[in-house]
Each structure stands twice: as C-alpha cells, then as structure tokens.
C-alpha cells in the first residue's frame, strides 16, 4: 500500500539541504524555542515576520512552501475549532448578533491570534519532521534525554519504542485493512446503525489486531534477543550524532531571531 507515503507520520522528505544536515538535537531544541516565541506573539507585525521567516526556512530546507502548508491539513479542523471557540465565546464590544451567538471585537482579535498561533505552531513543528528521519528524531530525543537516565528516565527505551512504533505503522495499517475486508466479506456492517452499534461492530476488527500485535511483540522480542539486544548499555550507532559548528551557529541564529521577534512584538 504505497499510498501510505502520504500518511506516514511527519512525512519525512529526504533531500540534501543545510537544514537536513543539522543535528537532530539542534532542530528539536530550535523548534522548542520557535514554538515558545510563537506563543508570545500578539501584534500583526510579529505575525508577518514569522510568516516571512517560514518562507526563508522553507527555501533553506529545499522543501516547497506548498508542501509545508499541506502538512497542516490534518490539523486545519482543530485550528478552526479553536478559533471558533474564541470567536464566539469572548466578551466585549458586540459587532454582530444572531440569537444566542454573538461575535465581539475582542473575539475577532483572539480568534485570529490563537488561530494563527496554532497554524504557525503546526507548520514550524512540521519542519522538524519534514527534514528529520524517524531514526534521527529518535536518536536525537534519546541523546537529549540521556542525562535524565541517571534519575531513572528510560531514554533509550523510549527511543526504541518510538523507532519500532514508527516502523510498524504502515504494516499495521495494511493488517487492519486486511482484517476489515475479511470481516466485511463475512457480512459485517460497519456503516449503518447508531454510534454504539457501529463501535460494537468494530470488535471483530480490533480483537484480531490486538492478537496480532501481542504475538508480534513476543516474536520481535525473541528476534531482538537473538541479535544480542540487551537494552541501551554498550550499544553503539551506525551513524552517531555529531554536533558541528553549523549546529551552534544555527541555534544561536534561532535564539537571536526569536529574541528579535519578541522584542518587535513588545515594542509594537
């Protein structure tokens, strides 16, 4: 089922670009900084500057802006919903009324502010997953959280779980589809009936899926043990992460940009 490419989490697009080559830890930390900055923005000028920066980033990572925006599609409903809540539930100077619903001037401001914040948040976070492969992401997170292993945080296990989960998403998709078709062939009706009826109708799809997953866990554990897996101790990596000067420069640059944008925003 190759069309799953469109649905693979984060839609990693392999390419040769300065952003792709950055250490994943740098990218993860940068995105955290950017997100913090985005959530502080209030003034329209700030929004414009964040938008311009997005375009600059997209050219630096050789990913067309169109593709970046497409990444927000799955979340568009959430963004609109949040905007809608702020639009209709904020009190203030009423601009328009219809029965119990009213839109205020403050509502419009809040809705656009929150909507745009969410929108930019998704787009900037999308940059992380577009330019970083799942394995790199998992490695990056593991290295970042490694200092916390001393206080009992299972950094390696978390990274391994992420890697394996991502590896099996397409496989599970296929298997769900296959089970679904098998039960449909036996006359299962998954389209009609009330919510409760439909949920019950999914049991013949979910139970076999669980069985497969548990069996797989057992088999996979044996296979990993057979290849001498014993957790994170003593493990090396084929492509170890190496923090380079470019990463330091990139991080300083991001820090500077976020600081500047926040200042512009405060000044306006």
């Amino acid at each position: 089922m190759k069309f799953l490419n469109h649905l693979t989490l984060g839609q990693y697009i392999p390419a040769e670009s300065p952003v792709h080559r950055l250490d994943p830890r740098c990218k993860i930390l940068s995105v955290v900084l950017l997100l913090a900055g985005i959530f502080l923005m209030k003034h329209p000028v700030a929004f414009v500057s964040w938008g311009v920066f997005l375009i600059i980033l997209s050219s630096f990572s050789r990913i067309p802006i169109r593709v970046v925006i497409q990444g927000a599609r799955p979340v568009i409903i959430l963004v609109l919903f949040t905007a809608g809540i702020h639009l209709f539930l904020t009190r203030g100077v009423i601009l328009w009324e219809w029965g119990p619903l009213s839109i205020t001037k403050e509502g419009v401001v809040m809705a656009s502010r929150m909507g745009l914040r969410l929108f930019f948040l998704v787009l900037y976070a999308g940059f992380l997953t577009l330019t970083t492969s799942p394995m790199e992401l998992s490695d990056g997170l593991e290295r970042l959280f490694r200092p916390f292993q001393r206080i009992g945080f299972p950094a390696h296990e978390m990274a391994m779980m992420m890697t394996i989960a991502l590896r099996f998403i397409p496989t599970l998709f296929d298997e769900t589809d296959r089970i679904l078709r098998a039960q449909l062939a036996r006359g299962a009706d998954l389209e009609h009936g009330g919510l409760f009826r439909r949920m019950k109708a999914f049991i013949p799809v979910l139970v076999p899926l669980f069985v497969i997953v548990f069996q797989r866990a057992e088999d996979l554990a044996q296979a990993m043990e057979a290849r001498c897996y014993r957790g994170g101790t003593g493990r090396s990596r084929m492509n170890p992460l190496r923090w380079k000067i470019a990463d330091t420069l990139a991080m300083s640059g991001i820090l500077a940009i976020v600081a500047i944008f926040v200042l512009i925003d405060m000044g306006a």
Binding site: S133, T163, I164, R167, D219, L220, A223, R227, S236, M238
Partner: protein, 270 residues
C-alpha cells in the same frame, strides 16, 4: 558447534513435553536439514540451539558454552544467528540498512565496522540497491533476505533458519535457498528447519523429528530410501525424488545422482 545431550523441553503449563530425550550434535560446516510434520517440535529445537529456550532437562552446549548460563548468552548468540518464520516480526527498523545495523550496534562495534558489515551483508543477499528503502515496501522474500543479512551482520559461524521459507512464494523460496547454498559453500554451518522436502536437497545430513523425538537421522540418500516411513513421519515425497528413485531401481540412473532438476538433466541429457 552444538551438542544436545538428553534434552527435553516442556512449555510452561503444557501437559506434554515438546521435546523428549533429544541427543543431537551439529558439526562445523554441516548443512543439517531438520524436518518433520507441524507440531513435531522443530521450532522448539531451533530455539534451544541459540539459548532462546533452555532445556527443562538435559544439557545443550553451543560453541562450547552451556546455554543455561546467562553469562554465556552474548557469546552464543553472536556465533549462532537465527532467522525466523514471519518476515515482518523480526525487522526492527524503518530503513533496510538500519535494520542490518541493529545486530552490530548491539555488539557495540565502531561505526566504521558497522558500515562495512552492512554493505557486505546486503551484498551477500542481493539487496545492495535497496539500502535506503523503507522496510515496509519490501516483498516477503526481500524481507526474509533482509532478515538473513541482519543475522549475517553478527558474523556468526552458524545460521539457524526456523521455517524461514514457510511464508514465501516459490520465487522468494528459491532466492533464499540460493543464498544458503552460497553461504554453505563458503563454510557456514546451516541448520535448516522446514517441512518441505524439495528444500533439503543440498543438505549434508537430515534429522527427522516426530512428536518431540528424533525419528531418524542420516544422509539424503538414506532418507529417500526410507520412503515407506514418510507417511508415518508426516512427510511427502517430492515428485522429482520419486521419479529419480524409480529410474535408479531400473538402473537407468546412477545411485549417487542427486534428485535435483539440475543434476537429473545433466545426467539424462548430456
């Protein structure tokens, strides 16, 4: 390479043992075919070799190490590698080369060595051009070849294949068998577990398992001479083998001719 003495194994909670009083030695350089009907204990026996299962009675020595000692597991499993039946349930990574690297990474090898091994093993199984392919996009046969590459990356002395061809189509099966033939030629010890008799024609020794016990042991020609027992052992004589035996009975074929397509054509159509 591997020696089992009076080995019995019962799964926890099971009423009957899966293996009973098994005495078996695997010598270096052999290609041992372990055959038998479903439920005869073949997979259980496979997992005893590399200490995934510990005998409930008796001893197993793998590469000189006792399998029931935890401190030996590492050494045993880096010398005896295993390929399992379900292609999907042994692949850990999302990208081909990352999965082959999994074993060497567990061994803590330096990155340069890992890269070398990955390239070499992918070459041995014919997947070099699929190095950066996502693993879910591979066919069943390719996945099994990937699993073999992952096992070879441990640089083992022995490869155990637990019904590794059972879920493959004929092309996939043939691809895997071709790889095994090449490995065996270069000195790899192979333990090949299967219920298909058309896959054992390159074996140097055959062990038949039935209801957890060894029913018979010997070489290929001995096995096919014992065809009267096949039904009892749950085995089926492949047509080519039956054909060659019939010709041998009528003295139209030399007794040492292997019942493979290639050899038969070589002898009958020189």
């Amino acid at each position: 390479m591997c020696a089992l003495r009076d080995v019995s194994f019962t799964y926890p909670g099971a009423a009957t043992p899966a293996l009973e009083d098994v005495d078996l030695s695997i010598r270096s350089g052999e290609w041992v075919a372990l055959i038998g009907a479903n439920g005869s204990g073949k997979s259980t026996l496979a997992k005893i070799f590399n200490a995934l299962l510990i005998p409930t009675r008796g001893d197993c020595f793998a590469c000189g190490f006792r399998t029931d000692r935890e401190e030996n597991l590492w050494a045993i499993r880096s010398q005896i590698a295993m390929v399992f039946q379900n292609p999907d349930n042994q692949i850990v990574a999302s990208v081909v080369e990352e999965d082959v690297a999994f074993g060497p990474e567990n061994l803590g090898l330096p990155p340069v060595t890992i890269h070398e091994r990955v390239l070499k093993c992918l070459g041995q199984v014919g997947l070099e051009d699929k190095r950066r392919t996502p693993t879910y996009a591979l066919s069943g046969g390719q996945k099994q070849r990937l699993a073999i590459a992952g096992a070879l990356a441990m640089e083992p002395r022995c490869l155990v294949l637990d019904e590794a061809t059972a879920m493959l189509d004929p092309q996939g099966r043939e691809d895997v068998l071709e790889i095994l033939r090449n490995l065996h030629k270069k000195g790899m010890t192979l333990v090949h577990i299967t219920h298909r008799l058309d896959e054992i024609l390159d074996a140097t020794r055959v062990v038949v398992l039935g209801k957890g016990r060894i029913s018979w042991e010997g070489d290929l020609s001995g096995l096919f001479a014992a065809q009267d027992h096949f039904e009892e052992w749950g085995l089926e004589m492949p047509p080519l083998v039956r054909f060659s035996r019939l010709l041998q009975e009528r003295n139209l074929l030399p007794k040492d001719c292997l019942p493979t397509l290639k050899e038969l054509l070589e002898v009958l159509c020189p």
